[in-house]
């Protein structure tokens, strides 16, 4: 086997320019697959991070029934901020933080005009541990427990209401009892958001402000939960649901934002399709090279048969040659891809503006290990498949005819 492998390696080096081109084609296929994969994977990670670390958390807990009417921001389904429920949530293994929040619908008024908005009240002291990206895109001052009457408006909402940091607005909402209540709110800053709706219609306030507005002291409508390992979120959700019982409803981020899951899935499908095209081009290159190699070496194959080489050995020789090309091409492609992806990360990521948003996100492109494994496996299997025909064609030659070839 060692002799055959040595012979195969020398045959690859025999026609350096052709082998170089083939290795280049394979490397290009691998490079493009990994670059695209790294980019798409980076976008996916960015989107999931934005949701899990900036918006909804890994898990949310509501009272049963909240989910049926959540589009109306119900405030009558509230829970105590401290006590047994929170203790049970914290006790679930893997949970790293719990953030009580209130989400409500309100009317915002700047003194001359008003509009509907969605207000999210969260405890500013707990927020960084649960939603560390919540303040991404913030201009001005963020929410602080020490300043309960100061909030942050979505960038476009602030523009529409003609307010800026330092301005005041009035928020009016219906309490849990159905009474109307209104409070003044100082505008501390604005936030530019990757989701257009949130820039246009959302503002965040300290939890204490939301509790005061709704007359829900010591209460929250939801608990947003952070976990140590996002990959285990389904198991943690099941454990938490079991611990809390049927009166509560635990949902993980994939249930809370199914659109994100769909987008990531579609991105992967598109990525796979494009990768298949790149890999197919590379594999066709290998097939062409191997066919040329067989046609050029017919007499040599005849000589090998004459001295007693079996058909199977001829097949193995050509497959070794193809695998050598695949190994060199894949290694070259990987080195180039990881170098370029590393360079992109070192430069701070690839800037990307989500559709309809003014916010610039910096995608950190990382080729996941599974994509590397899949690309390498596809290249090796494809190369073996592509070289099988030339190899069997070589092995099927009749010695006497092969020896006659010029």
């Amino acid at each position: 086997m060692g002799t055959l492998f040595q012979l195969a390696a020398r045959n690859v080096l025999r026609n350096k320019s052709r082998s170089g081109l083939t290795i280049g084609a394979i490397a290009f296929g691998v490079l493009m697959s990994l670059l695209l994969g790294g980019f798409v994977s980076g976008i996916g990670t960015n989107m999931v991070d934005d949701v899990v670390l900036g918006k909804v958390g890994a898990l949310q807990v509501h009272l049963r029934g909240y989910d049926d009417v959540k589009d109306n921001q119900p405030v009558h389904l509230h829970m105590p901020v401290h006590g047994e429920v929170v203790d049970k949530i914290r006790a679930v293994p893997g949970v790293t933080g719990v953030l009580p929040r209130i989400v409500l619908a309100a009317m915002i008024n700047n003194g001359t005009s008003s509009t509907m908005c969605v207000v999210v009240g969260a405890d500013p002291s707990l927020e960084p541990a649960v939603l560390p990206l919540a303040r991404r895109g913030l201009a001005g001052q963020g929410n602080e427990a020490a300043a309960p009457h100061r909030g942050v408006l979505g960038f476009e909402l602030a523009e529409a209401m003609n307010v800026r940091a330092g301005s005041s607005v009035v928020l009016q909402a219906a309490t849990a009892n159905g009474q109307q209540n209104a409070l003044d709110l100082d505008v501390g800053g604005t936030t530019n958001n990757s989701v257009p709706f949130e820039s246009k219609r959302m503002l965040t306030v300290p939890l204490a402000f939301a509790q005061e507005l709704l007359q829900l002291e010591g209460r929250a409508t939801e608990f947003t939960v952070a976990v140590a390992d996002r990959e285990k979120v389904l198991a943690i959700a099941e454990q938490m649901q079991a611990a809390l019982g049927p009166a509560y409803h635990v949902q993980h981020w994939q249930q809370l934002r199914p659109a994100v899951v769909d987008i990531v899935t579609v991105q992967r499908i598109v990525l796979f399709s494009i990768c298949i095209v790149f890999l197919a081009i590379a594999i066709i290159g290998v097939m062409n090279t191997m066919l040329m190699s067989v046609l050029e070496r017919v007499r040599e194959i005849g000589t090998m048969m004459a001295v007693g080489v079996r058909r199977g050995v001829i097949v193995v020789l050509f497959l070794f040659e193809a695998l050598t090309l695949a190994a060199l091409g894949t290694a070259t492609g990987c080195v180039l891809a990881f170098s370029l992806l590393g360079l992109a990360r070192a430069l701070g990521g690839i800037p990307l503006t989500p559709p309809g948003s003014a916010m610039v996100l910096y995608v950190q492109p990382i080729a996941p290990v599974w994509l590397l494994g899949l690309t390498a496996a596809a290249m090796f299997v494809g190369t073996l498949g592509a070289s099988a025909y030339p190899a069997f064609r070589a092995a099927r030659l009749r010695p006497v005819e092969a020896l006659r070839a010029t």
Partner: protein, 241 residues
């Protein structure tokens, strides 16, 4: 028992609608240790005859025995094994593997059958010395002259210690001086090592060295001369070729 025994061997090819009869009922016996030349003009069937004896091709009809075994129904891999262990080949165009050096070309038939490399290297060196290539072991074929390349081919044929060496016009691509040297080398190996040689040529100069000459024309053996044996197959008649 003859080493090679052909009885009534015919070989026909179909070329489109035409049937070409390359061999028409050839009877031939080659004993161990013989140095036999198959003589004949181009297209007479010399190469076809050698190809059948070398298990590179199959006869259309007739009986072919090698070393007492009937080989007509053996499959490709069986024949490859026989070629590897019992037959050495020397070709007109040398047919060396260009990416291998002299040592590697010579040892190649032994390596593919799994001979241990260390023990093999000594035998390769000896055979290379015998054919006068001791100083060229690390050379690639394209660094050698035609005569040297043919010596490599001879060494490759001999290293497996075959029962017969088949040489198809081995001097056709060599100048007369080198041809003489190659023929002398084969005669010497025949005399010293008792290696059986069977080779084809249409070069009359070779005749002077042959111990036994078999003439072939139009796919039939037409005459036989024998330097030591009483009889050589001689079949009269002309066929289409």
């Amino acid at each position: 028992m003859a080493l090679v025994e052909l009885v009534g061997i015919t070989k026909s090819y179909e070329l489109g609608r035409t049937v070409v009869h390359a061999l028409n009922g050839v009877d031939l016996q080659v004993e161990r240790g013989e140095f036999t030349v198959v003589m004949g003009p181009s297209g007479s069937g010399k190469t076809t005859l050698l190809n059948i004896i070398g298990c590179l091709d199959r006869a259309t009809a007739g009986t072919f025995r090698f070393d007492g075994e009937e080989l007509g129904d053996r499959d490709f891999n069986d024949l490859a094994e026989i070629r590897n262990r019992k037959i050495g080949f020397i070709f007109q165009s040398f047919n060396l593997i260009p990416v291998l050096n002299v040592t590697e070309n010579i040892e190649f038939p032994c390596l593919i059958r799994g001979d241990p490399k260390k023990a093999l290297r000594e035998r390769v060196r000896q055979v290379a010395e015998e054919v006068g290539l001791g100083k060229f072991l690390a050379h690639k074929p394209d660094e050698l002259s035609g005569g040297q390349r043919q010596r490599v081919a001879i060494a490759r044929a001999l290293v497996t210690q075959p029962q017969v060496v088949l040489a198809d016009e081995p001097t056709a691509n060599l100048d007369s001086g080198t041809s003489e040297q190659i023929i002398d080398l084969m005669l010497e190996l025949n005399a010293k090592e008792n290696v059986t040689f069977l080779f084809s040529t249409h070069d009359p100069r070779v005749m002077a060295h042959a111990r036994r000459v078999v003439h072939i024309a139009d796919g039939r053996l037409v005459d036989g001369t024998d330097s030591g044996r009483a009889e050589v197959a001689a079949v009269a008649g002309m066929g289409a070729r």
